[in-house]
Amino acid sequence: MKLQSRRVVVATVALLAIFCAALRTSLARSQEESKAQPQPQYPAQSPSQQESDRKAYADKVRESYDFRFGPNNISIPGNAAIEGNDFIQPGAFPKATYCATCHAQAYSHWRQALHSNSFRTPFYRTSVNILRRTKGIEFTRHCESCHNPIAVVSGGLTQDSRVDRGFDQDGLTCLTCHAVQKLQPTVGNGGFILGVPSVMVDENGNRIPGEVPYEQIMSHPERHSKAVMKDFYRTPEFCAACHKANLPEPLNDYKFVRAFTVYDEWHNSKFSKRNPLTFYSADFTTCQNCHMKRSAPTMTEYGAKNGTFASHRWAAGNTAVPFYYGFDEQLKKTVEFLQTGNYLNVDLFAIKKQGQDEMIAPLGSVPFTLEPNDTIQTMVVIQNKNIGHSLVPEVRDLYEPWVEFTVKQSDGTEIYHSGFLKPDGSLDTRAHSFTNRPVDENGVFVDNHKVFTIHSVAYDNTIQAGRSVMVRYEFKIPPNAKGPLSVTARVNYRHLRQSYLNNIFGTDHPAYPVIEIASRTRTLNLGDNPATEPDPQDNPDWMRWNNYGIANLDQLQYAEAVDAFNQVVALRPDYADGFTNIGLTEMEWEKYGSARGSLHVALSLANDNARALYYMALVERRSGHPDAEVADLEKVVAQYPLSRDARRELGKSYYRQGKSEQAVQQFEALQAIDPDDVTAHYNLSILYARMGMPEKAAEQSAQFANKKVDPGAPTYSLDFLLKHPEISTESVPWHIHTDLSPEFSAERPQGGTQANGKSGRSPNGKPADSKPAASKSQNAKPADSKAGEKK
């Protein structure tokens, strides 16, 4: 008995001991976990100590991290990467407030800028929360690779993460950009490689992790500079790491879908000096030149050079974030940026009276008369004059630029108004907007920016850099109209469209700012209208015609485009690009003979002009002159080695000639410029296979299959357009905006889009009310004859 009692007592004590031990272990584990959690301060430490701490932290995170997209890959479906390819303590990133001591100006800019608010804003959170709730937090690594890279590299984007998310409020903090050590190929989605954040290097150039005491930095500012600045930070490729995006298959379970590509748009613009095919030319200008303009600092700023400092506001188009946060200075700078007046040119270019073939153009330069009861078609040409990318370059499903057009009588009453805001804040559904409509596999508009469901884009309207669009408005002057009439066209911009704001806040939110980016008003007298002096903002007449021609070319109105370009060369006979424009239009029109003549004139005016040579090469190809074709393209590539078009076409030319190695060289060069070019993937897949490189061929083949447009995608778009005639009308390049009754529209000569949303295009794709063919050909022929004369 006694023995048994003792046994029980011993057992009890033993169990208590075990319990205590277990409790202690549990506490120790908790403490360990606590240690693994980032600390608010991260003092400078030796690289080896940092490495050891990082390993301990990473080992801990790895235990519970969901590597659902592949072992050891911490960021897929995004591309953010970090040296060592392992998790890092979020505390390894010095706080922005640490930097602020010596960079108060940069800090004050950044705190109100989009970069510091890249994660926390309701506009972003609403969208990414949907992804998190729908598919899981692991999928948000795609978005956060750019919006919150510290969350990615610290391993915070996994279920039941134990990472302290205190860094969320700082979004892209100083040491996310200033710790980038290398860039990946320009595929975007976070195409950078971070180093262990460091604000200083030692005397041997080794990076010192952590927050180094200020005195050390002050005693060796050059070592600080070496740690936090790289030459490539000043290049557009640096911005491309995030300002280019796609929706990869791991995200959407579908295929590669292009999201946006600001970098490529810049690359194709006149500002890159890398594309010979732009309509106009300009000095080399980077993203930073526009969005990080230098000015004299007003606060402590040790980063200032020669009395100026690069703005860290990154002023652009986002008015919603400063409006929500009450960042008045940022909002003011953003509005100023949008309204500098250099970016867009709005031109009330021409009018045309119903029943008359003649177009009255350019308005202001030619006299005309107007009478009550006249039905007037107004041609508004909007030129993307000085934006280095399209309007707007990103997220066109949420950002809302549009054209507002009004005709008012002298007493202020409206005769016509397009592009108004409805009482509920939404935009007139028939407005001409520079927006898009992504749709899902059911042909339903992808509201709320659920990008992972996008299968097609039913409608996508913009103005590419350097190009122009024309918007036609039709209205009738009332019989008792009170003149003069005031006609105004303006481009407005709202960040964001009303329905998305409603999705975020519900309907009870304040009205978000609508900014007028550019506008032009003309006064039309009832009776005589003599020629008037141009406004200072107006383009010269030759450029007005040129822009009108470009707009017609993009709307596939070749005859009108050639007419317009002929007006250009009549006003500026020395303007080689005017003749190239005629040649280009004729090529598009499949009039290769005429095109050759025009291009010859261009080349005689500007010897070895790369743009003319490029198009001439395509004419030579069409004419069966491969050697001339290659010779022209080689000259273009020699002048513009980073021209993707020239590389692509030269690659094709070599391919046709059986010169596989040269072709591969061109396509590889093209791929270095744009890793997503499907022509390069396609041709390289064949060429590598022929050259006995099956693995490389298979890789290229797979890339091509993934990136090429889904041939079934248009079906989704058609489903949407069928249900939305107002957008269907907008999706047709040539259309008219009018609120005249359908009966009236039916009375008009055939053609033009009617108020009920029907397109008035004839079967050959041209509006049926265009000028008589004889008239057109008369206008077109002089181009040929002139070309012949010049030859």
């Binding site: 008995m1 048994q4 009692s5 046994r7 029980v8 007592v9 057992a11 009890t12 169990l15 208590l16 319990f19 908790s30 403490q31 606590s34 959690q37 980032p38 608010p40 926390r120 309701p122 959170r125 609403t126 929360n129 039941d160 993460s161 134990r162 990472v163 302290d164 998310r165 205190g166 969320d168 409020q169 929500y324 946060y325 009450g326 975020i504 806040f505 519900g506 009870d508 939110h509």
Partner: protein, 223 residues
């Protein structure tokens, strides 16, 4: 008094087993088996043995209960412990209480089923800091939210950039307690964030910033 009968022991064991079965059928799944191991006729008949046996059983029972409870421990939907620890400057313990226990109840929306109150507490010596987050679905944002705003009283300060709308206030409690609170709304969900410290020497400004920081985290999650 020593036990003289095996039957008495058996009776005690039966009692233990029954209580264990009735108290938490689902939780005490292992307990009866363990109890059976100890409650056999061959065990000690002494009082010490009985006490020890009962202690052992209770110990085993609560260990199992504690283990299962820990296994099923729920985390705060809007803020993890690490982030709360960051705001409270030290390790915290947390509790979460969901308003709707039955997640399968079709009478409630998904958002209502996620309504909860989270409490994080940090102890450091005599200092106790707590962070309380309360989220509730409201029917009509503009009407019902007024009652939430009343939690801050007439001297509440309006805040920008937290949720749809937000107000902040601070108040003193008993025993040197100081609190800072934010009451806010994201669409149709109201929430309250309150940080309390038992030291009136706590910097109110710091507490206020922390409360705002947490409120912004919660709002961000609710958007």
């Amino acid at each position: 008094m020593p036990f003289t009968s095996r039957n008495q022991t058996s009776a005690i064991c039966r009692g233990i087993l029954q209580r264990a079965r009735f108290r938490r059928k689902w939780r005490s799944h292992l307990a009866p088996q363990r109890a059976l191991q100890f409650c056999t006729p061959h065990r000690s008949q002494s009082l010490v043995a009985l006490i020890c046996t009962r202690l052992l059983f209770l110990f085993a029972f609560w260990s199992v209960l504690f283990g299962l409870a820990a296994e099923a421990r729920q985390t705060c939907p809007w803020l993890n412990e690490a982030t709360a620890a960051g705001f409270l400057d030290g390790k915290v313990t947390s509790t979460v209480s969901f308003a709707i226990k039955d997640k399968t109840n079709a009478n409630y929306s998904d958002t209502e089923k996620n309504d909860a109150t989270c409490e994080f507490v940090r102890h450091q010596g005599s200092l106790v800091m707590s962070l309380r987050i309360e989220v509730e679905t409201i029917t009509g944002p503009s009407d019902s939210f007024k009652s939430y705003l009343a939690r801050c009283g007439p001297h509440a300060a309006a805040l920008t950039a937290i949720g749809n709308e937000a107000v902040a206030c601070g108040f003193d409690g008993k025993k040197n307690q100081v609190s800072e609170q934010v009451v806010s709304r994201v669409r149709g969900r109201a929430f309250t964030v309150r940080i309390t410290s038992n030291s009136n020497s706590s910097d109110r400004g710091v507490l206020r910033d922390k409360t705002r920081g947490v409120a912004e985290q919660v709002a961000g999650f609710l958007f």
